[in-house]
Symmetry: C3
């Protein structure tokens, strides 16, 4: 099992931390959309677990880990309580939340790629599924809240590319048989740093050529 | 098989009744959105079968029951014809439709929880999948019609909580080995009554604290 | 394997052609929505592969063909480059794109129905899954871009019906044991011609009865 990049205990702690911050982002959007407390919980669960569930369904890891590991399911409920009672405070520490979210992004693209490879998928498919693990929950979050997925929007800083970098590095490490705690952590850290730089300097991807400058946003 | 709460014939009749009323709610929304007759059929099918299909995919019951039981597939088409020709009449008996919908909610959260447990899932996961069976189709309906899922909205009466009650009771009954026709029906009835009371008295769940009273709905 | 309607090489070429044009339609919508280049790629992939992935998940063909055949995954990326650099030209040849899209529709409803039957599904379920293969990607495309699915809209020419015709013919051919290259191509061509006629003469399906003429579109 190459997917055991970290010791089981370490991986569990990292996973739960990533799930917690993804759930926070879902909960905060739910509050912004004026959903009730159950809507907050549903959006927190869907955001935190959606990417991993999609990956598990596509690779045949049934039932998905989200339904066999009680901690995965309960953590978003804790995040729901936190944002329910403390959302002005959580929103105020936006930079902290975004930093943690970037950590989750880095972690999940690495572990997602490794798990897909463990289930027999090829290099390119494993990269794609690693990215899906990292970004899928956010897309589900936005669709459920009737928002254009921020993953797709031009006016948001890069999110797909950092996960692409982390997933690709992981796939390369697997193919040269060098994925371990040190190299896996490095791949996750690079994706994390890339995302933080994109946030800090507001890096964006280009839109299609020939567009007039009058196109200043999405309609 | 604990999922055989009712005799097969009774379960089939109840299932088809639940599917029929869920399909009605999908069809009525499609008409309100001005979709054509095929759009009505697609939304009726997705609403009626979506929750069960999601559950079956997640627990590994492949192909999903919706694709192996012809009655499950044909019933939403009958509902499509009914709303197509009689939608003013169907809309006028809104209370009847909501009552039947509440019956479907109660039934599906119980049978969904039992089926998930049959496939080896744990208590909490079975509860979650029972709820998903009951409310998943409605979420798919709303997303396809580009409406904010009514499940999430503050200004709709409780829908998730009755299914949570029914699913939790079912999981408790399973864990003390007491799920049978009588107790299963009681759990479904309690969920149904809870939902009807929520409708009657417009019970709502709280939104997050500290919100000003100027927040009067979703934007 | 009845699904081998065409020789493997021919089927691969046809599949890639269909995937390419479906990806073009996703990419063009992404540009219209002002997404960045990664958003274009995501929408191209989701549109081109979404229907087949849904079918494969539902019939238990795991991992889906989209994740085992490298050409399936790379083709939408090529389409992304094409629309990124040439989108005014691509949009100008709209009739060509719609013609190719109709070819993809015809092809995928036939091969999707055959594959579902190969995996043991019944006649009606195979028809439904053939239609899902043909139209599923377009629905995912529209939902991700926050557009009402054009499949459902009254003010768009028929799309579901041609795929229903192609799928039903294929299922009939299978049930009389007469599905081969010639008959399969004929079923695909009939679906294609039907779709082209619907486009040319702007055929629409009826909306529900009793609607006043003041309903002139969807809001």
């Amino acid at each position: 099992m190459t997917s055991q990049i970290f010791s089981p205990d370490v991986e569990q702690v990292l996973d739960l931390a990533g799930i917690f911050v993804f759930a926070l982002s879902g909960g905060l959007l739910a509050i912004r959309k004026n959903f009730d407390v159950f809507g907050i919980a549903v959006l927190a669960e869907a955001t935190a677990l959606g990417g991993g569930v999609l990956r598990d369904v596509l690779i045949g890891a049934i039932p998905p880990a989200a339904f066999t590991n009680l901690g995965y399911f309960v953590t978003p409920l804790v995040a729901t309580l936190v944002v329910f009672f403390l959302h002005p405070e959580v929103a105020r520490i936006n930079l902290t939340v975004q930093t943690l979210d970037a950590l989750g992004l880095g972690l999940f693209c690495v572990t997602g790629t490794a798990k897909a490879h463990d289930y027999g998928l090829g290099v390119v498919a494993s990269i794609a599924l690693g990215m899906l693990t990292a970004v899928g929950g956010g897309v589900i979050r936005d669709v459920l809240a009737m928002e254009t997925p921020s993953l797709l929007r031009w006016d948001r800083s890069l999110y797909a590319v950092p996960s692409l970098v982390g997933s690709t590095l992981t796939a390369l490490l697997i193919s040269i048989d060098r994925l371990n705690t040190l190299t896996g952590s490095t791949a996750a850290l690079l994706a994390f740093v890339f995302r933080m730089l994109a946030l800090r300097y507001n890096w964006r991807a280009p839109r299609a050529w020939h567009r007039g400058s009058s196109n200043t946003g999405e309609h």
